[in-house]
Amino acid sequence: MDFSYSDEQRMLSDSLEKLFTAHNTAAGGGTAAQADKLWQACAETGLIGLTVPEDHGGLAGSSADVMVAAIQIGRHAVQAPFLSTAVAGAGALRLAGSDAQQAQYLPALAEGALKVACAFGEPDARYDLADVDTRAAAQGDGYVLNGAKSVVFGGDDAGLLIVSARAPDTERHDQSGLSLYLVDADADGVERTAYALTDGRGAADITFNDVKLPATALLGAQGGGYDIIEAVSDLAAAAICAEALGALEKVIGLTKEYLGTRRQFGKTLGEFQVLQHHLADMVLEYEHMKSLVYEAGALAGSDDTVARQQAVSAAKVVVAEEGRRICQQGMQMHGGIGLTEEFQLGQFVKRVAVADFAFGDADHHIARYGGHMARAAAAAFGETEGHHG
């Protein structure tokens, strides 16, 4: 039982701290050229290939290592597509890719030459990853893809899309009908509407109109997509929780600083007991959240699906609910200044707001956690009958 960073993790964290400080990421996304430069620098530190196997040019890092990196990304409000490429994209290729596919894509990914985005969500699906209406029909040796994906993280400038689609003869929510396909983002019939998310990072809605795919586009087994989709989504959820944790550390730090300096009615704000207790509440919830985010980081890559889902959902619920509350309290205690674009609090608050609604909201994860809980309870005590009779 050890909650502290390993030496390697500490080094990773320190090097990212230096890198992001040097690139002044907290000032916003910057120009395209600046973003490219940062991305290359990230590749050079090994960040992009963090979870890529060593023989494909990566560091073979764990989900806990991803967490360490993501905390720094959140603390520095980095807008680079780490989550979509290095966590989700690399995760899907690692988990489902054939040797040939891994060899084809992972080295380029780790070098920063290939951005990847996972396109799982659909306009009407909310957070149900099995609710897929995009269809891949067999045609000749390959497939033809039709459908629409929405709010694809990193979809704005990814070169490779990993798309969930179902066999045409399967029903809308049937998990076993799902497969994953590798799609060149510049292929004919791929159309994307790019936009920024609340925290400034890029995303897209993407439609596929008769997109022709070769046989080699299939990622993993035919009909075996759902488990991969869930696993990748959990990797992303755990990472965005860690990002939020880093951002919340800043929200609390800024608030603490403001309370210590801003004066009103002849005192610093920090001398008002009500504000002291609000700050104490923020820290209280933050520390408990931190433990859950650590656990989610540790288990996000676990083979034990139930343990993984419980840990990720627990962290996600608390990040969504308490994270939102901490941000609201932080804004409130800053007064007007906390609501301006100019002051840096806003970008951290917006970062947390994205974590709130990405990869399943609180209701989604409370239901998933509750389902596991109910099953475990039933197994422990056995189903019982009405007792009063």
């Binding site: 969500g121 306009p123 009407d124 909310r126 957070y127 149900d128 929405s150 709010v151 509407t193 936009y195 920024a196 998310l197 609340t198 400034g200 995303a203 809605d205 004066r263 009103q264 009615f265 008002f272 009500v274 504000l275 609201q328 804004m331 409130q332 007064g335 007007g336 609501l339 301006t340 674009e341 100019e342 806003g346 608050v349 917006k350 707001a353 994205v354 709130d356 609604f357 990405a358 909201d361 209701d363 409370i366 239901a367």
Partner: protein, 395 residues
């Protein structure tokens, strides 16, 4: 005890509805429907229509142009207007400085300003807050030094809503630097076109531009623009702030927000059912509705009984601002992943890009951030709770 509306009240509501059916401009209705931000011309257009009907300042005394309505009628009026999505009547002239002028102003001031407030020919803004004086308003430092028939004003105001549209600003200024905090303050009317006045926009987290910094550098203001007595400005400000607070529960707005929320919750689906039938979301929404119900009843109770005590405005302000926030928070929750794309620009009338998702998702995240201000301005929640506990416990 009778908690039903009287037949007079029902007739009145019908009269307001008929007016709105006939007179509320289609273009404004369309902007409301698409959640496009109103601009100066929109406000003026609507205010002039209300002025023509004689309904621009219903709560003013009849002699100055008011309507003589009961508090319940005023409430109905507010509800119906916000219900159709009408731009809110800018409070700065009508609700704030107008009553100060007709209560404490000279005849000349009344004659000069009141008609132009009613006609919306003057757009006013409010110069109270300063960078070092937010909730602790009385620590303000903008100075006005008398030189002959003029005051020379120097200082800075902040959080000035719509200063970019304004013709005039009413300011609290310090006229006696030696007096104790509240005692050396005066209430001054300043032409925004005066030399030395400059406005710097403050962009807020929601991506909009409403508030500003206003810089006052050697601005020369005629002494006839002083309202009431010199160094008595704090009294007028307190009078004005008490008017500000009563309208701030925002019940009309909350009802409009909830109507939109219902619409969204009927459209969005979870587990194959409309979100409004999802047990978790329905329970949250029902709790919010019950709170809205409680606020509305409490507001009416206060209006009809005069309030049991001085803490009622604070009680309404706290609950009202909470619900104004909570309703848009649930709207944001309702659209799920579509809360993520940032489409604040799509709320600008001039925008012509490609929107993401259906109409109802665009304003969700920006509106969530925008509403955070409601627990900060007009006396923060913390200040209101100080007032309530002071009333309860003495001090």
């Amino acid at each position: 005890m009778d908690l039903t509306h009287s037949s007079e009240d029902i007739d009145f509501r019908n009269e307001v509805r008929a007016f709105l059916d006939a007179e509320f401009p289609q273009e404004l209705a369309e902007k409301a429907r698409t959640e496009t931000r109103f601009k100066r011309d929109d406000y003026i257009l609507w205010q002039k229509i209300l002025a023509k009907k004689g309904w621009i300042a219903p709560h003013w005394p009849k002699e100055y142009g008011g309507c003589g309505w009961t508090p319940v009628q005023l409430n109905i009026f507010d509800e119906e207007l916000t219900g159709v999505g009408a731009p809110r009547v800018m409070p700065f002239g009508i609700r704030l400085v107008g009553p100060v002028i007709y209560t404490y102003g000279t005849d000349a001031q009344k004659a000069k300003y009141l008609p132009r407030i009613l006609s919306s020919d003057d757009f006013w803004c409010q110069g109270f807050s300063e960078p070092g004086a937010g909730s602790d308003l009385a620590s303000l430092r903008t100075s006005a030094v008398r030189e002959g028939d003029e005051y020379v004003v120097n200082g800075q105001k902040i959080w000035t809503s719509y200063a970019q549209y304004a013709d005039l600003i009413f300011c609290l200024v310090r006229t006696d630097p030696d007096a104790k905090k509240q005692l050396g303050i005066s209430f001054l009317l300043i032409d925004m076109k005066s030399p030395g006045v400059s406005v710097r926009p403050i962009h807020t987290l929601d991506g909009s531009h409403i508030v500003n910094e206003v810089f006052l550098e050697n601005v020369r203001v005629p002494v006839e623009n002083l309202v009431g007595e010199e160094n008595k400005g704090w009294d007028y400000a307190k009078f004005l702030l008490s008017n500000e607070r009563t309208g701030i529960a925002g019940i009309g707005m909350i009802k409009a927000d909830l109507a939109l929320l219902h619409k969204i919750a009927l459209t969005e689906r979870r587990n194959g059912k409309p979100l409004i039938e999802d047990p978790l979301f329905q329970a949250r929404l029902a709790r919010l509705e019950i709170n809205r119900r409680a606020l509305e009843l409490t507001n009416l109770r206060m209006l009809t009984t005069g309030g049991d005590s001085g803490m009622f405005p604070s009680i309404l302000k706290i609950k009202g601002s909470q619900l104004q926030q909570r309703s848009v928070e649930l709207q944001m929750e309702a659209v799920g992943p579509y809360a993520l794309p940032w489409q604040s620009d799509a709320m600008e009338p001039s925008w012509n890009g490609t929107p993401v998702g259906p109409q109802h998702v665009r304003a969700r995240a920006p509106t969530y951030f925008d509403r955070r201000k409601t627990t900060v301005y007009g006396g923060s929640t913390e200040v209101q709770k100080n007032i309530i506990s002071k009333t309860l416990l003495g001090s």
